[in-house]
Amino acid sequence: MTNTPDDMIVAKNVDKYFGELHALKDVSATVKRGEVVVIVGPSGSGKSTFLRTLNQLEEIDSGSLMIDGTDMYARDTNINKLREHVGMVFQSFNLFPHKTALENVKLAPLKVSGRAEAEVHESAKELMYKVGLAERMDNYPSQLSGGQQQRVAIARALAMKPSIMLFDEPTSALDPEMVGEVLDVMKGLANEGMTMVVVTHEMGFAREVADRVLFMEEGALLVDKKPDAFFDNPDHPRLKQFLSKVL
């Protein structure tokens, strides 16, 4: 297994413990540039934990992680610099409640990248337009619906011009009628060629958008297949059991 320049994420033999709990068991996976990889599995299977190791919100205990050619745990790696290239969208949105939607999008480009106010303002407005919220820019998060908040959160992550986007159950906290609007924005991103890793329970999205689907259970990565093979010919017994429950 050699790394090619097109490997955006290379995880090798990743182990992670929470005290006694073995949360990630020898997980290895590769995500190529422009690929959309969806991770599914029962709750507590470690899929969110694995996603969170990809921008070091969780530190791993052993193994290695290469992000866009940079070894995350190398001595000279600046984790803050690395995170600028890895956008993340959370289940509970985590918008900054004291700032308006537009200010949420502008904050990191201004304070982290130090880009000029005028330029950041314009590109933030464009992003709000892109996620369909041009009219709600000056609203505070508390004045937006869940679906709108999640779209602002996506715009906020995109404002740093990331090369990888991580989605941690982005639609799980939403009312059913709002799931579609968020998934549409994500599909748009996928079509533009964004490299994406998505933890979700939306099997329809996985089948339609994913290039590969990963199945995790009890901290182990059990299946890594193209969506057709994953959903239509599940050969792993645990996956069969899981799909029979969710489909």
């Binding site: 919100l57 956008g87 985590n94 004291h98 982290v112 992550a157």
Partner: protein, 316 residues
């Protein structure tokens, strides 16, 4: 309609109780053998007594044509004394005067010792508030730091300061630390109050920061912000808003606690009150006045913090 009537009734009860208490205090004041002389207190608040300007030497007075300047030419041949600030002349042009004679009077009003004390109290409270806020923020951040040295130092600081009386701390600050570092009274007082209040502010700020969901820090860090930047732009502004009500309470305590610095002879409002009591023989009036002035200060502070809270609640 019914609930409105009930509200009226209970409002009436409220005013009846307040008026009742007011009357009892008034009657109690009448019953005791005490002559209330509020007029004795006013000169200590605003002094309207004229200041007399007296001759510094024996000599001759010259007053210029438009009465705007009095010149005293000493007999000794020294340089003349020129007086321009006065309201009323008590001598005429060419008068011979002796040293100590009153030449003129200056009318107007000056602040009395109680107001001077009030100003000192405001100064002490304001300096202490700013220092306590900065120091409390630092200690609060150390308290939640991952670094064991910083965290344990903060815990020790908070426990020691909260576990000893402020009065004792003021004495130690003035007599021991003040002597070692050659601090002035005023500085010792401000430092003691700041150090004391900072311990409480630190705990308030710690609780405020910990009340912000972890997701906020994670979102900030995932955007590439360093820990300090995430604190400054994301966590602290939210925590500050939540801690305003308890901080207001703490700063009201600070104003009241500042009365204790009078024990190291800082002439604050309380010390001024004590001095005026011995000068005016009107202890009841003076202490009521002093209490009212403290109430005015704490009232203004709590009102302005409520205003600030309202302004910050725009995003709720």
């Amino acid at each position: 309609m019914h609930s409105k009537q009930r509200a009226w009734f209970w409002n009436a009860v409220f005013f009846a109780v307040i008026i009742g208490i007011g009357c009892s205090v008034y009657l109690a004041g009448k019953r005791i053998d005490y002559t209330w002389r509020w007029d004795r207190v006013t000169p200590f608040i605003i002094n309207t007594d004229p200041i007399s300007i007296s001759a510094e030497r024996n000599g001759t007075v010259e007053i210029n044509a438009d009465q705007s300047q009095i010149t005293l030419i000493p007999d000794s041949g020294e340089e003349s004394f020129v007086i321009t600030e006065f309201t009323e002349t008590l001598v005429s042009d060419g008068d011979l005067v002796f040293e100590g004679d009153t030449l003129a009077e200056l009318h107007g009003w000056r602040i009395g010792p109680i107001v001077e004390g009030l100003i000192v109290t405001i100064e002490i409270s304001l300096y202490s508030l700013l220092i306590a806020l900065a120091l409390g923020l630092l200690i609060g951040l150390m308290r939640i730091s991952a670094n064991p040295a910083a965290r344990k130092l903060a815990i020790v600081y908070i426990e020691v300061i909260r576990g000893t009386p402020l009065l004792v701390q003021i004495f130690i600050m003035y007599f021991f630390i003040g002597t070692v570092l050659e601090l002035e009274r005023f500085t010792s007082g401000v430092v003691a109050l700041s150090v004391f209040t900072a311990a409480y502010v630190a705990e308030i700020i710690r609780a405020g920061i910990q009340s912000i969901p972890d997701g906020q820090m994670e979102a900030a860090r995932s955007l590439g912000m360093s820990y300090p930047k995430a604190m400054i732009y994301v966590i602290l502004p939210q925590a500050f808003k939540r801690t305003l009500p308890p901080l207001a309470g703490q700063f009201i305590n600070l104003i009241k606690d500042s009365s204790l610095v009078s024990v190291i002879s800082i002439t604050d409002l309380t010390k001024a009150g004590r001095e005026v009591v011995s000068g005016s023989f009107a202890p009841f009036e003076v202490w009521f006045t002093v209490a009212l002035l403290y109430l005015l200060l704490t009232g203004i502070l709590s009102w302005s913090i409520q205003r600030l809270e309202k302004r910050l609640s725009a995003s709720d």
